[in-house]
Amino acid sequence: MTGRILMTIAHRAAILAYIVFALFPLFWLLKVSVTPNDLLYSEGVRLWPSHTTFEHYRFVIENSAFPTFFKNSLIVACSTSVAVTVLSSLAGYALSRFRFRGKYAIVALMLITQMFPLVMLVAPIFKMLSPLGLTNSLTGLVIVYTAFNVPFATFLMQSFFDGIPKDLEEAAMIDGASRFIAFRQIILPLTLPGIAATLGFVFTAAWSELLFALMLISGNTSATFPVGLLTFVSKFSVDFGQMMAAGVMALIPACLFFLLIQRYLVQGLTAGAVKG
């Protein structure tokens, strides 16, 4: 019995250690964002400044294009994550359930796209998108991000489909349902944790992508959030207070998103379905 209690204490302590490790840098971000500029260096090592200010936040909201960046990032990240999830569920299902010629070619193709440093695609992609009028547009960014994220998402979805017994849709198909109906009505609901994980990954990846946003977008009207953050870093001075304030605000949608998808990760839907 004492062994059990000790295990529980060790378990909670380990969880707590992870939480502290995960949150401390974010706490520091918050701390710097509310530290007045004159205390930034003199009280740099203190855990909390002797007095705080929201000056940095006010400056960012009132004097910069951050609200626009924010809206743009939200549009791009939401569109990309939905598009990727839909496309990768289909492709992941094909890789999981069918044996067909060309399957390994598809896997190889998708693996290769993960291996090339994306830096090298900037110039060719710019050359291809510009005659289509897709540079400097959020649509172009969504297309590029969707393509970049779809290979990984497909592997992820395939893994989740692999974990679901084939008997489930085979039974439905023997009962007369077409494969697509079986896929949509039986398999997809069982993969909800996987779908939530995929949405989460893609959302954050699209939310924080810097390189292509920087190269494909010029001007403030379609700039995304990370590009906006970069405008705070000039060659000669870095206003850390304002940048951290902007950073804290950038975290808000991501936090909300994670809170929303938590429960799908926790639900062990597959276990219940197989048992029943």
């Binding site: 969880i15 939480i19 995960a22 840098p25 520091w28 971000l29 740099g44 090592v45 855990l47 496309l87 990768s88 289909l90 094909a94 069918f98 067909f100 193709l109 693996l111 290769i112 796209t113 291996m115 090339f116 830096v119 090298m120 695609l121 110039a123 060719p124 291809m128 590029v144 969707t146 393509a147 970049f148 779809v150 497909t154 893994s159 692999d162 974990g163 023997i174 944790p193 954050t204 939310w207 924080s208 810097l210 953050l229 970069l230 850390f240 940048m243 951290m244 950073g247 950038a250 975290l251 991501a254 994670f258 938590q262 429960r263 990760l265 639900q267 597959t270 276990a271 197989v274 048992k275």
Partner: protein, 310 residues
């Protein structure tokens, strides 16, 4: 399941149209993804690769000529490249190992129900949502003895002899980006592995417990085999991503001090965007691509073995 015989004989007498539809079916599911990948990644990739054999310098209007293997001859004599290759191994190996080990432990911890699990999970996964650029700057601050607490804490614990910035120390600098990368990447493994853990049918554990299997035995003979395919694919992708992942290094150390944190990916970035030599940068990228391809082949073969063994 009721009439397997009837179903099988039905399949044997399928008309030609039906057989074609069956053969084409997987392609319908995969077509949207394939179209997108070919148009937005493969075509630009081939264009980019062709630069490796051409003299492409952005500021030189007379460049663009086909020069054959010239870049690769330069590369073979480039000491900075070999140093970067060694640093890449160290950076990737340490980052992947720590992220995976800590991520697996976290996933196992979170797999047990306990009060407040939803909240704890949301908090520990949060680093993944931080833009890498911001994460890099933030960690660079934490390591700065003037404004960050970490050097003082490490000195107090005896890890450092004096509260200096490890990012400025040639022998320790690589640990800065590695720690930032581990912090940022643990949630990736934890989320994927946790979702895979949740998909393991619970009754298998119950049956094993009734048969008298201890926790360690259950972990080794149930959990690990179930997780193996997910582990293989996530480690493969993560290794490749981290080998190509230059953001943190560029933001935190810019390859310094004395090139001690320069990895191949950041070296490519330097060649392309500081020296604007896209030709040479593409040649280095091609070599990196071949190395990562060889590595991936190995993992894919291992994964296939694992699946077929089941």
């Amino acid at each position: 399941m009721s009439h397997p015989e009837a179903v099988r004989s039905g399949a044997a007498r399928k008309p030609a149209m039906r057989r074609f539809a069956d053969a084409a079916e997987p392609w319908f599911y995969a077509a949207p993804v394939l179209t997108l990948i070919v148009a937005v990644m493969l075509v630009p990739l081939l264009l980019g690769l062709s630069y490796a054999f051409r003299d492409i310098q952005l500021l030189n209007p007379f460049s663009g000529a086909f020069i054959g293997l010239e870049h690769f001859k330069t590369l073979a004599r480039d000491d900075a490249f070999y140093r970067a290759l060694k640093n890449t191994l160290w950076w990737t190996g340490a980052s992947v190992f720590l992220q995976f080990a800590l991520g697996l432990v976290l996933a196992l911890l979170l797999d047990k129900p306990f009060p407040g699990r939803g909240l704890a999970q949301a908090l520990v996964f949060l680093p993944w949502a931080v833009p890498t650029f911001l994460a890099g700057l933030n960690w660079a601050w934490l390591f700065n003895p003037v404004i960050g607490p970490l050097p003082h804490w490490m000195a107090a614990l005896g890890i450092l002899s004096a509260p200096d910035n490890i990012l400025a120390d040639p022998h320790l600098a690589m640990w800065g980006p590695i720690i930032a990368n581990v912090w940022w990447g643990i949630p990736f493994f934890a989320i994927t592995l946790l979702a895979a853990l949740q998909a393991i049918p619970r009754d298998i554990y119950e049956a094993a417990a009734i048969d008298g299997a201890g926790p360690l035995q259950r972990f080794l003979s149930i959990t690990l085999p179930f997780l193996a395919p997910t582990i293989a694919i996530t480690i493969l992708l993560r290794t490749v991503w981290i080998a190509n992942f230059a953001d943190l290094i560029i933001v935190m150390t810019n390859g310094g001090p004395a090139d001690r944190t320069q990895i191949v990916a950041s070296y490519i970035f330097t060649q392309a965007f500081r020296r604007l030599d896209f030709g040479y940068a593409s040649a280095i990228a091609l070599v990196l691509l071949v190395l990562l391809l060889a590595y991936s082949m190995l993992i894919v073969v291992i994964r296939q073995r694992l699946i077929e063994k089941d």
